[in-house]
Symmetry: C2
Subunit: 455 residues, 2 copies
C-alpha cells in the first residue's frame, strides 16, 4: 500500500510504515493480531474524514486505535490495512461546572479526566482497571466498566453526545449538551460499545456528577465463595447498594500473596470481598455498618474497615495488582469477563470448579460481584499445546454455561476478534443478521474494523 | 382492508372495525391523527409476529399502541392501516428481589409497577406525569422522563433487555438479565426512544434500585424566573443534586390558581421551585438544608418545607394538575418539551418572553429545571385561525432558538408526526440519512409507524 495519499492528508511526519511501528500498533493487551500496512495519525476530524473516504474508496481496512489497552483485539487489525491512531486527540476541551459536563477528545486518558474534574468537586465514575493508560474514546467504543459500575453504571450512562466520522467520510453530531434528548434514534448509545466498527469517534461530551464527599472501604474474608456471595445477597436484602463490591477468589489471593508479597487474607480464606461505600459522611457510616452486619450475619471470618485513605489505597491497589500478579506468573492469562445475574454467581463458581477439574486448568476468578461480572482467568502454559487446547475447550463450555445462567459472555471487554467465534452462543441468528444490517447502514463497504464482533 | 386474515391470527373477538373503535384508537393526548382501518389486539408475541408478517407482505401500515397518552401522535396512524393495541399484555411477569429487576409485559401501567416494587422495598424511578395511565411499553418506546430524571435518569437507564418483534416477523431478544452486557450492538438502547418505528416490544426487563427510605420536599417562591434559576445554579455549585427540581412560571401558577383554586404561591410570585430530596434520613436532612440555603442566598421570597407526607402529596399533585388546569381553559394546549443545558434556562425564558410579545400568545412554561427540560405550552384559541398561524410561526422560532442554545427540540415526548417537520432544525441531513438507513435495516418496507420522526 502506498503511503503517499495519506501523507498528503496528514503530513509525512504522521504516517508510519517502519517495522517497529507496525509491530507495536499491531497488538493490544490481548497480545495477538496482525500488523497494519500503515499507521496514520490524524490531528483533526476533517483529516479523519479524509482518511476514511480514501480507505472507503480503495476498500482498505481501517482500524481505530486509542490507548491499546483492550483485551479482545478491538484496536488491532486482523488482516493489515491502516491503523488510525487517535493519539493526537488529547485535549480536555471544556469542563462545564454549571451544566455538569465535560467535552473531551478521544485520547484523553481516563484517570487524567477524573483528576481534572475531581479538582473542582466533580466526578466521572467509570473506573476500568486500566484507567491510568486507557483512553476515553476506547472506553466509549468498548463501554468500559469497573468496580464502581455497581452503583454508578458503566461508561454508557455518561455519554451525552458524540462527534463521529462515518466510514464514508461524513462528520456527524449525535446527541447534544442537553441531558435529555429523544430526537430521532439514539445514535450516541448505538455507538457506545460498537467497538470501532460503525464510526470513528472524534469528540465526546460526558455527563459528570458531584464528587461524593466521603467514602469508606471494608474488607471481609470468608471461608468460601458461597459465604461471600451470601453476604452480597444479604446486603441487597437490606436494600444497600454500595459503590463497589469486589469478589476475589482463593486462587487470586494466592497469586497476589506469592507474586506481590501482599497478604490480603489468611491462607485459609476461600474468598474475599472488598466493599466501598461513598456519599455524605452520615450515609457512608450507616451504609458501611449495614455491610458489616450483612457479612457477620452469614459467618464472616474477619471484617476490617480501612482506617484511613492510605489503608484504602493499599487495598484498592492490591485489587488492581491481581492482573499484574497473574501476568507475573509467566503464564498466558486468558481473561474472560463473563457476567451473570448476581444471584447466580455461586452457580458460576460451581461451573469454574468443574472446569478446573475436567480440563485440569489453573483458573483465577475475581471481579465485580455486585454486577455479577466475574473475570475468569484461565492460566495457561503457552508452550504446552495440550493445555492450550484444553483451555480452548473450557472457554467454549464456560460461555455456554454462562448463557444458560441468563448471563452474557462479555460484561465490559467487548468481543473484538478474540470472542467473535462465540457470539452465536449468546445471540440468535436473527439478532446477528439484524446487527449486520445495522453495520451495513453505517459502513456499506465493510472497511471499518473488519473481522470484529461477528462470527 | 379485509379483516379475515387478522381474525385467523387473533380471533374475531380481538379485531375491531366499528366506527367507535376506529375513532378512539385514532387519537392520543395530542388530539390529532387519522383513524386506522382496523384495530388488532394480539395476546402473544407469536400472534404479534404473525400480524407483522401479514402487514409486511401486504405493505399495510402497522402502528403500535400502548396507553395512548403520548403528546406527539406516536401511537396514532397518519394514513390508516392497522393499529396493533398491546392492551392484553398487562402482566408483571416477575419481580426478582435478588437481582433487582422486573420482567413486565408492555401494557403494565407505570404506576402499577411502581406500587408493586415499592411494596418490597424497591424503586422504579421514571415518573412521567401520565404515570397512572401510561404503559411501560410506551415509556420505553418514547424514553419517558419525569421530575426524578434529574437524579435518576430517564427510562433508558432502567431497560436491561427486550423481547421485540421485527416488522418482518422475527422475534428477537436484546440484552440480558445481566446488568452489564457488551455483546454486539446495543439494540436494547437503540429500541428505547425509537417511537415504534423499528420493532414491536413484547416484553421488557427493567433494572430496579432500592427504595430511598426517606424524602423531603421544599417549595421556594421567587420574584422572577432568573432568581429561581440562580437558586438552581447555586445548589449545583454546592454539588447538590436533589431527586427533582421543578420550575413553575407565573403564568402556570396563575392558571392553577384560577382553575383549581390552589394558591401555590402569592400573586406577586414570578416563579416557583419544587425540590425533592431522597435517600437515607441524615442525607436528606443535610441536602434539603443545602437547598434552602442556596435559595436564601439568591433572595428567595419564601421557603416552605413540606411538614408531612400529606403536605408533600398536595404539592406534587398541584404540580401534576398544571396540565389539567391548562386543559380546563378550553384552549388548545400545544405542549413542547424543549430542553437546553441547565445554565441556559434564563436565556430560554428570555426567548419565551419574546415569543409572547412578538406573536401575541399566552404561554405557560414549567418543567424539569434540573435537566433544563421545560414544557413550553402555547395556549391557543382553536377557533382563531390567525392565532393558530401565529402559534405555528412561534413554535418554529422556539425550536430554532433552543437548538442555538445547544439544546434539543424534545427531551421526553418524542417526535411522532407532530414535530417531524422540525427535525431538520436539530439534525443534519447526514444524520437524518443515517437514521433512515438504520430504519431500513429493521423495516425494509417501511410498514412500521410510517410518517413518524422523519421530515
Amino acid at each position: 500500500m502506498t503511503s503517499d495519499p495519506f501523507i498528503r492528508i496528514v503530513g509525512a511526519e504522521f504516517v508510519r510504515a517502519d517495522p517497529a511501528a507496525l509491530e507495536s500498533y499491531g497488538v493490544d493487551a490481548l497480545g495477538q493480531g496482525h500488523p497494519p500496512d500503515l499507521v496514520v495519525i490524524p490531528g483533526t476530524a476533517p483529516e479523519v474524514a479524509a482518511v476514511a473516504r480514501l480507505c472507503n474508496e480503495r476498500r482498505v481496512p481501517l482500524v481505530v486505535r486509542g490507548g491499546g489497552t483492550g483485551y479482545t483485539g478491538g484496536a488491532v487489525p486482523t488482516r493489515g490495512g491502516v491503523v488510525l491512531s487517535m493519539e493526537r486527540f488529547t485535549r480536555i476541551v471544556e469542563i462545564d461546572q454549571t451544566n455538569l459536563l465535560a467535552v473531551v477528545e478521544p485520547n484523553v486518558i481516563t484517570a487524567d479526566l477524573q483528576r481534572a474534574v475531581e479538582r473542582v468537586g466533580l466526578f466521572y465514575p467509570p473506573d476500568p482497571a486500566s484507567l491510568e493508560t486507557s483512553a476515553l474514546g476506547g472506553n466509549v467504543a468498548e463501554c468500559a466498566g469497573g468496580p464502581r459500575a455497581f452503583k454508578y453504571g458503566t461508561t454508557r450512562r455518561y455519554v451525552l453526545a458524540l462527534e463521529a466520522v462515518l466510514p464514508t467520510g461524513e462528520i456527524v453530531q449525535t446527541g447534544s449538551k442537553a441531558v435529555k434528548n429523544v430526537v430521532g434514534y439514539d445514535l450516541t448509545q448505538l455507538l457506545v460499545g460498537s467497538e470501532g466498527t460503525l464510526a470513528i469517534i472524534t469528540r465526546i461530551t460526558l455527563r459528570l456528577i458531584p464528587k461524593p464527599p466521603a467514602r469508606a472501604t471494608l474488607l471481609a474474608v470468608f471461608a468460601d465463595v458461597q459465604a461471600a456471595v451470601d453476604a452480597v445477597t444479604a446486603l441487597i436484602a437490606r436494600r444497600v447498594v454500595p459503590a463497589a463490591v469486589e469478589l476475589i477468589d482463593a486462587e487470586s489471593l494466592r497469586v497476589v500473596r506469592d507474586r506481590m508479597g501482599e497478604e490480603l487474607a489468611p491462607p485459609t480464606a476461600g474468598a474475599m470481598l472488598l466493599v466501598e461505600s461513598d456519599g455524605i459522611r452520615a450515609a457512608v457510616d450507616e451504609e458501611i455498618e449495614q455491610v458489616a452486619q450483612a457479612c457477620r450475619g452469614v459467618g464472616v471470618m474477619r471484617v476490617t474497615l480501612a482506617a484511613d485513605e492510605a489503608e484504602r489505597d493499599r487495598l484498592w491497589n492490591a485489587r488492581r495488582l491481581i492482573s499484574l500478579a497473574l501476568r507475573a506468573t509467566g503464564l498466558l492469562k486468558i481473561n474472560h469477563d463473563v457476567v451473570v445475574p448476581r444471584g447466580r454467581i455461586p452457580e458460576l463458581f460451581g461451573v469454574i470448579d468443574e472446569l478446573r477439574e475436567e480440563y485440569r486448568l489453573t483458573i483465577a476468578a475475581f471481579g465485580h460481584a455486585g454486577d455479577g461480572n466475574i473475570h475468569v482467568n484461565l492460566m495457561v502454559n503457552p508452550s504446552d499445546p495440550d493445555e492450550r487446547a484444553r483451555a480452548r475447550q473450557a472457554e467454549r463450555v464456560l460461555f455456554e454455561r454462562v448463557v444458560a445462567l441468563e448471563g452474557s459472555i462479555s460484561g465490559e471487554h467487548g468481543i473484538g476478534f478474540a470472542k467473535a467465534p462465540y457470539v452465536g452462543i449468546e445471540l440468535s441468528p436473527d439478532a446477528i443478521a439484524l446487527m449486520k444490517r445495522v453495520k451495513a447502514a453505517f459502513d456499506p463497504n465493510g472497511i471499518l474494523n473488519p473481522g470484529k464482533i461477528f462470527p
